[in-house]
């Protein structure tokens, strides 16, 4: 995609900042999603592996995959969606590519992701 016009970039930058923890493709996250049912509103948690992150101003999104009752479920969330209440990062995963579409072909043990050990940076 071509770079947006400077005015567009400026307007996009005005979207309210979201305070999400840093996560990468391969990490397991818990996404708290606001769901409106008629009059009521409740928060549902969608937990799974991040298989894709897309950048681009306020248009960025990420896709989370989980296997629910042996059915693969993927949900894509825009970073700036007001429906996304909170993101919690679970285990970090070590992966060698940016888009984990190969997980769709795999089940069970083959679909595991190696853990990524995060060292504390503050070691003076």
């Amino acid at each position: 995609m071509s770079t947006p016009h400077p005015i567009i970039q400026e307007l996009e930058a005005q979207s309210p900042a979201r305070d999400f923890p840093e996560f990468r493709v391969g990490d397991t996250v818990r996404v708290h999603v606001r769901i409106v049912e008629g009059q009521r509103e409740r928060v549902q948690v969608f937990e799974g592996v991040v298989i894709r992150r897309r950048r681009g101003g306020n248009r960025g999104s990420f896709t989370v995959r989980k296997v629910s009752y042996s059915v693969g479920v993927e949900r894509t969330f825009p970073f700036f969606s007001p429906r996304v209440e909170k993101i919690e990062v679970g285990s970090r995963g070590r992966v060698r590519r940016n888009r984990l579409y190969y997980l769709r072909q795999r089940t069970g043990k083959a679909a595991r992701i190696r853990a990524r050990i995060v060292r504390e940076k503050k070691k003076a």
Binding site: P4, H5, I7, I8, L11, E12, S15, R34, V36, N58, R59, P78, F80, S81, P82, R83
Partner: protein
């Protein structure tokens, strides 16, 4: 003649955002104005009444001498995009030559407008792309006849092809008006107008914004943003 106030602008591009419910919506960003009133056409002199507006600076050496005279009268720099807005004589009174108009003087959020621009050129196209004809069958022995339009008429009666027959030809790069577009925001400090959905043409293309022809609109009055709010508040008390 239909009188609808309008302004000239330039398409910047499109954006997305979320509404209160969290659904995506798409809108187009347009730089509108500042437009300079270059001339006011009068019944006596010109036979009709209108505002002549100019938008976006042009290099002086690209403007011919008669046009230079117009810009000199309005005491402004040469303009690239010059169009007339037909208004009634009563509406024209509130303007003066040389005056600069900004979008917040003409448009409010929620207004319904028509946007006129030049659509993206698609070149010489066949009937399938141009008019969504279905073409002909690809199998059962079809030979060198797949994307044609088929028959274009009858035989001796009427002995000619009816006018308006849809055939291949130039597609796009044509004046197009999108009617009844809602304004979602007017950003006065940046001279930007955000409208819902798309508008004709590519980014950087010139467009004309009018109050909607198909809506009943009272005679146009300039909006004076700051003074209007000041006078409105004491009146309410």
């Amino acid at each position: 003649m239909l009188h609808r106030m309008g302004l000239l602008g330039k398409k910047v591009g499109m954006m997305q955002d979320f509404d209160e419910k969290g659904d995506w919506f798409t809108y187009t960003v347009i730089t509108v104005g500042p437009c300079v009133v270059l001339d006011i056409k009068t019944k006596e002199r010109d036979g009709y009444t209108a505002l002549k507006l100019g938008f976006d600076d042009q290099k002086p050496h690209r403007v011919n001498r008669p046009d230079m005279g117009v810009f000199a009268k309005a005491d402004t720099t040469p303009k690239r995009y010059v169009r007339e807005i037909r208004l009634s004589a009563e509406e024209c009174v509130q303007f003066e030559v040389g005056q600069t108009l900004t979008p917040d003087q003409v448009f409010r959020p929620g207004d319904t407008i028509d946007v006129t621009g030049t659509s993206k050129g698609k070149g010489f196209q066949g009937v399938m792309k141009r008019y969504h004809f279905r073409g002909t069958r690809a199998t059962h022995g079809s030979h060198e006849y797949f994307r044609h339009g088929g028959s274009i008429g009858c035989r001796l009666t009427p002995g000619r092809v009816y006018k308006g027959r849809k055939m291949p030809g130039q597609m796009g790069n044509k004046r197009v008006t999108m009617q009844n577009i809602a304004i979602s925001k007017v950003l006065a400090d940046k001279n930007l107008v955000l409208v819902n959905g798309g508008i004709p043409g590519s980014a950087e293309g010139y467009v004309m914004l009018h109050h909607a022809a198909k809506r009943l609109v009272p005679a146009f009055k300039l909006i004076q943003p700051k003074q209007a709010t000041e006078t409105a508040e004491p009146a309410a008390e």
